[in-house]
């Protein structure tokens, strides 16, 4: 059984939960896998610590919580401080490199890949699509899900009229993720 535990962490307003939801939706609806998501956020809509736990598995998921994440997607320093020690040895850390500095609290053999997602989002026209750039980066760097599945999940999740920019944000993050692996 292949079970991948993913923790997405950042601040309210960055689209953390939407990011987790798109990954879960891509896996469960468009990639024929199973997925579960648990969300956690503070009382404020914006600015408070926020995280999503996503499980992607080839089989039915009996326990929906993340214990030792295989993959961390980090968009704030607090999230890095809090979640980095939980990473599985040899796990993958994907982080927004202008907001997060990975420090010494990562387990051995952790692989870290950074992306200037905020800058990319601004260059595309809207800082708001930072989280979609991160989703694309996740898809490209992890190889966990087919791009087409993630693309469909994005189209299914974002408001009407914003599809084009969100798809460009997804593609930008994906290509950057692929290039980091090369």
């Amino acid at each position: 059984m292949t079970r991948t535990e993913i923790r997405v962490g950042g601040l309210g307003g960055q689209g953390i939960i939407l990011c987790g939801s798109i990954i879960g939706k891509a896996a469960s609806i468009y990639a024929g896998k199973h997925a579960a998501m648990i969300q956690a956020f503070g009382p404020e809509a914006r600015g408070s610590a926020c995280s999503a736990q996503v499980i992607v598995s080839d089989e039915a998921i009996g326990y929906p919580y993340v214990r030792r994440p295989d993959i961390l997607v980090l968009m704030s320093q607090d999230a890095c401080t809090q979640f980095a020690p939980q990473l599985k040895p040899g796990g993958l850390v994907l982080f927004e490199e202008e907001l997060v500095h990975t420090n010494g609290n990562l387990p051995a053999q952790a692989r870290t890949l950074g992306i200037p997602a905020t800058r990319f989002a601004e260059e595309l026209g809207r800082k708001l699509v930072l989280n979609i750039v991160m989703v694309g980066f996740f898809a490209g760097a992890s190889g966990l899900l087919p791009y087409e599945a993630v693309e469909k999940a994005v189209l299914d999740s974002v408001p009407k009229g914003t599809e084009s920019l969100n798809l460009r944000a997804l593609g930008k993050g994906y290509e950057f993720g692929i290039s980091k692996l090369a």
Partner: protein, 200 residues
């Protein structure tokens, strides 16, 4: 699926296919030819003298800098319509873009202008523009109808604001479309997203 994928083919009411594409530097001679062939009375109310190579040089510079985004409509390889979004990256109106649309007389009433404007509005939203305006004079009935179909409404009327190339004063109509609500929906989704309540 990217709704902004250009070039694309659109079918005009005449049954002919028109290619809608982003304008590129290589379209320069075709654009000059398009505007130079335009009857003088059609150029009466244009903001610039678009028949000069100086204008083309400025236009291509704006295309390169991103201050102008332009789409052209070609039938049989010749430009029959052109729409450009003009914007600035600084100042208090940096969220505003202005669309200018011109269609060859022979191609009017075929839906080409609407298609050009539609693609440009999408490009404008995509480029982070919150409010799109179009300036016209009251006699441009077809243009008013085109922009109204795309959600524009008359926001202001400035009497005697336009002097055409014959020196005649005309009223300037400002049509506007505030598209910021599209991104407000995304922003509120990010602020307080509940997957179980997500609707599109």
């Amino acid at each position: 699926m990217d709704a902004l994928d250009l070039p694309c083919i659109t079918h005009l009411k005449s049954g002919k296919g028109a290619t809608i594409a982003l304008a590129e530097p290589g379209d320069g001679p075709g654009l000059l030819q398009f505007y130079r062939a335009m009857p003088e009375e059609d150029r009466l109310v244009l903001k610039e003298d678009v028949t000069t190579s100086d204008w083309l040089d400025r236009f291509l510079l704006k295309l390169a800098s991103g201050e102008a985004i332009s789409v052209v409509g070609k039938v049989g390889g010749e430009i029959r319509g052109e729409a450009t979004l003009h914007r600035t990256f600084h100042g208090w109106s940096r969220h505003v873009g202005e669309i200018r649309l011109n269609v060859d007389r022979a191609a009017r009433g075929q839906g080409l202008g609407l298609e050009l404007a539609r693609h440009l509005v999408k490009r404008a939203i995509d480029a982070g523009i919150d409010k799109i305006v179009a300036h016209m004079v009251d006699s441009q009935v077809a243009a008013k109808r085109t922009f109204e179909k795309l959600g524009f409404h008359k926001e202001a009327e400035l009497p005697g604001h336009v002097t055409d190339i014959h020196g005649k004063r005309r009223d300037l109509l400002i049509y506007a479309n505030d598209v910021s609500h599209i991104w407000s929906a995304m922003e509120s989704m990010l602020g307080d997203f509940r997957p179980d309540r997500a609707t599109r």
